[in-house]
């Protein structure tokens, strides 16, 4: 069975090579039957990789310890759910997963999204085939998941205990699927450039792909943050470590892209910029995989130790050179069809939003790569830790939030000072009043106050958009308000889904401000019967309780939580010991409420039975998950098919279909 899996990879490699050669030749010699053969090869490749993945899953669930990957990432006691998730727990498996998502997306895209692209078709197929070929080469020559051990292992070494958590089961595949799916709009962009067909057809054909990739990456990042918070147990959700940063980079450029394509769709401007953004997004997605998988940042030696690093690096350089080279050669064809009518317009606020997003991505990239660069230049090792990112990202975050609020208030094309003033007066006044209240309530740190004010501004502006639209609709159609609101969203999913995402972002930032500026941490060694005080909460320690469980031994600390003296429940943080791992896993106890989380970590214990506890009060953390959920919901609304519109004689004025992805 594992051998079959490898042969399927080999077949996949040949199919990808065939697809590349056939589509290129077909495009060059204008032989549509060759291009069609390339398309079919991509579909066959998806089938081959699906079967190969099935072979890996089958090796995992039958616990075939003759396969190195299975022996390294599972053991015979691992629950079935986690055994299947080991598919993407290690290097070889996660690369196979990447390739699988890419191949399936490629097959679907060439089957369903190429209509109307005409001359671009062969080059889209060729680009997709090229990317698929790279991953097939990796799997066959450098990271074969089906490699056999010389001697079948008697027992596997088990899944890393930190990965035994539902959040960690879904976080990696979502991020990987997001990365892989960005290859679709990238390939369509390259195909359009190669064929000189440079209208918006490639953008429209891949809109849902880009949004799906963005959805998947957003969900993956959020789940990763939640996993860090609930499982890693250090009290935070984002540590600015290189792998986290790597997932943020393509997210930022993709967000910029989703906004700036609206200008091209409406006005035929920014063609070059949109191509730059989608190329960057794809390169950064591959770069993210490269960072995660090559280990280049933890040590330069692990990079040269495996052949994966150089292969990824070569692929990145080659694709970047080809893409930007092609863009340079087509630059004269990419002139804007329109001019800007005024500096003060919604178009320019989109451009500044793009500027901030890309500059933030650049700052994060600089910080991530700097330890490597500075070691190379000065020979001294230094760290770029969270304090750096928090300082540098704060002004960009503030600017971004402010623009999110300002943007819907500025008219398209040209805003006059008068309507500018009319639109801004009430939202600004309300924001000022709200900010005053926050200040009176004790939010004194200027940066925290500024960020919260910006969040409030976004929420007010967004609320106002919904209220105005629904009221006008209900007045015109005589519909009750809830119906009017529902139909308003259903008729303009792009616009109003976008606003839902904006509101979600603002809520998420509220949670970030609360939990990062106003966290309370108390450490203490507590004897049984003793207690620890954190703000208005008291944690009473009753004693340690060892327990023998299915696949691990655990020590629980039994705690009673009191708020202002009143009993609020029992908390049981623990440490778990797995026979397959040297490091104990920490499991934190969290009591969540919309106002704040009480978060208790059992750090260890003394001989006399006293517990070393850390009690944290994290304000507003729930808002991060709620805001993130709203962002995902909004994305689903945006992806939702727009209502079919009957052809109408009256041109819908361009203001009607504005905003949002």
């Amino acid at each position: 069975m594992p051998d079959l899996g490898f042969y399927l990879l080999l077949i996949g490699f040949l199919l990808a090579a065939h697809a590349l050669a056939a589509s290129l030749l077909g495009g060059w010699r204008r032989r549509p039957e060759l291009v069609a053969s390339g398309k079919r090869a991509l579909v066959a490749l998806a089938v081959a990789l699906a079967l190969s993945s099935a072979a890996l899953v089958s090796a995992l669930v039958t616990r075939d310890f003759s396969v190195a990957y299975v022996a390294r990432h599972t053991d015979s006691h691992l629950p079935m759910f986690y055994t299947v998730s080991a598919f993407w727990a290690g290097q070889e498996g996660s690369l196979l997963f990447w390739a699988l998502v890419l191949a399936v997306a490629s097959a679907l895209a060439v089957r369903f999204n190429l209509r109307g692209l005409g001359p671009a078709t062969p080059y889209v197929v060729a680009t997709l085939a090229g990317v698929n070929l790279f991953f097939a080469v990796l799997l066959v020559f450098a990271a074969n998941p089906f490699e056999r051990l010389l001697v079948t292992a008697a027992e596997g070494s088990g899944l890393n205990p930190l990965l035994r958590n539902p959040g960690m089961v879904f976080h990696p595949p979502l991020v990987l699927a997001g990365y892989a799916t960005f290859a679709i709009p990238f390939a369509f962009a390259i195909g359009s450039m190669a064929s000189r067909r440079l209208d918006t057809s490639w953008i429209r054909a891949t809109r849902r792909w880009t949004l799906s990739a963005w959805f998947s990456l957003t969900a993956g990042i959020l789940l990763g943050a939640e996993w860090a918070y609930k499982v890693l147990g250090w009290g935070g959700y984002w540590a600015w470590d290189p792998v986290e940063n790597a997932s943020l980079l393509p997210w930022l450029t993709a967000t910029a892209y989703l906004h700036s394509v609206m200008i091209q769709e409406k006005k035929g401007m920014l063609k070059i910029w949109n191509l730059v953004l989608i190329i960057l997004t794809f390169e950064l997605a591959v770069f993210g995989t490269f960072l995660t998988r090559s280990g280049i940042l933890s040590s330069v030696h692990s990079f040269s130790g495996s052949s994966l690093g150089p292969m990824f690096f070569g692929f990145l350089l080659a694709t970047a050179a080809l893409s930007f080279g092609l863009l340079w050669r087509r630059r004269t064809l990419l002139r804007s069809e329109n001019r800007l009518e005024a500096v003060l317009s919604r178009e320019s606020s989109f451009l500044f939003n793009n500027l901030v997003l890309v500059a933030l991505a650049f700052a994060v990239l600089t910080g991530t790569m700097f330890p490597l660069i500075s070691e190379y230049v000065t020979g001294e090792k230094i760290s770029v830790g969270p304090p750096y990112y928090n300082k540098v990202a704060a002004p960009f975050g503030l600017a971004l939030l402010a623009l999110t609020g300002i943007c819907p208030l500025i008219s398209w094309r040209k805003a006059t000072w008068r309507n500018f003033r009319n639109n801004f007066l009430w939202p600004l006044a309300a924001t000022a009043a709200g900010t005053g209240l926050l200040y009176a309530a004790g939010v004194g740190r200027p940066l925290a106050l500024g960020l919260l004010a910006a969040c409030l501004f976004v929420l007010i502006v967004t609320g106002l958009e919904f209220a105005r639209g629904a009221r006008a609709r209900s007045r015109m159609a005589g519909e009750p308000l809830p119906t009017a609101l529902r139909k308003l969203i259903a008729k303009n999913p792009r616009r109003y889904g976008g606003f839902v995402i904006h509101a979600g972002t603002a809520l998420l930032f509220v949670g970030v401000v609360g939990s990062s500026f106003y966290q309370t941490t108390v450490d203490g060694v507590v004897a049984p019967g003793g207690s620890l005080q954190a703000g208005k909460y008291t944690v009473v320690f009753q004693g340690l309780e060892p327990a023998r469980e299915a696949s691990r031994e655990s020590v629980y600390a039994n705690l009673e939580l009191r708020e202002n003296g009143a009993f609020r429940g029992v908390l049981r943080p623990a440490k778990h010991y797995y026979p397959t791992s040297d490091q104990p896993a920490t499991s934190v106890a969290i009591r969540t409420s919309p106002v704040e989380d009480v978060y208790v970590i059992l750090q260890g214990w003394e001989r006399n039975g006293a517990a070393r506890l850390r009690v944290m009060v994290n304000p507003l953390t729930l808002w991060i998950w709620a805001g993130g959920g709203l962002m995902l919901l909004g994305t689903l609304v945006v992806i939702w098919p727009e209502p079919k519109r009957a052809p109408v004689a009256v041109e819908v004025p361009e203001e009607v279909v504005c905003d949002a992805a």
Partner: protein, 155 residues
């Protein structure tokens, strides 16, 4: 517009450069500028859950109690582990790059964008007659749009 942007951004830069006020430091403050030497990826001593971090925190506690300032404690860790121990990259020599580059890039890009916008706005639109621009999203305009939408799509 350009000047205003420049002013705003340079204010932000200045705000960043101002060091934290020199009030008596807490363990948390000192520990949150130190990278835990335990080998966890870029974790701070203030938040790392390993035993090493716990030890270092109690060490910081006793040093603070002995009257050492935050700077003196950081210096001592730098002597022990090298400048890699500090979570904030140093702001001297070549390392200034990491602090300046992101803002320099953003400022330059902002300045270029402002120039481009002004040039675009000055150029006449190629053969486009603009029907009274600037009718923003006032209620009347919105109403008209709504009416139109409703007429077209109401079932």
């Amino acid at each position: 517009m350009r000047r205003r942007m420049a002013v705003v951004l340079s204010c932000l830069l200045a705000a960043l450069a101002v060091p934290a006020a020199a009030s008596p430091a807490t363990v948390e403050e000192v520990a949150s500028n130190l990278i835990c030497p335990c080998g966890c990826d870029n974790m701070l001593v203030s938040s790392c859950v390993c035993g090493t971090a716990t030890q270092i925190r109690s060490e910081i506690d006793s040093k603070l109690a002995a009257g050492m300032t935050a700077e003196q404690i950081w210096d001592e860790f730098v002597r022990r582990y090298g400048r890699e121990a500090l979570a904030t990259p140093p702001a001297d020599g070549f390392h200034l790059t990491v602090w300046i580059l992101p803002f320099l890039a953003a400022l330059t890009a902002g300045w270029m964008l402002a120039r481009i916008l002004r040039r675009w706005a000055a150029a006449p639109a190629p053969g486009e007659s603009s029907p009274e621009p600037g009718t923003g999203i006032e209620d009347g305009e919105l109403l008209r749009r709504m009416q139109e939408e409703l007429r077209q799509f109401q079932r």
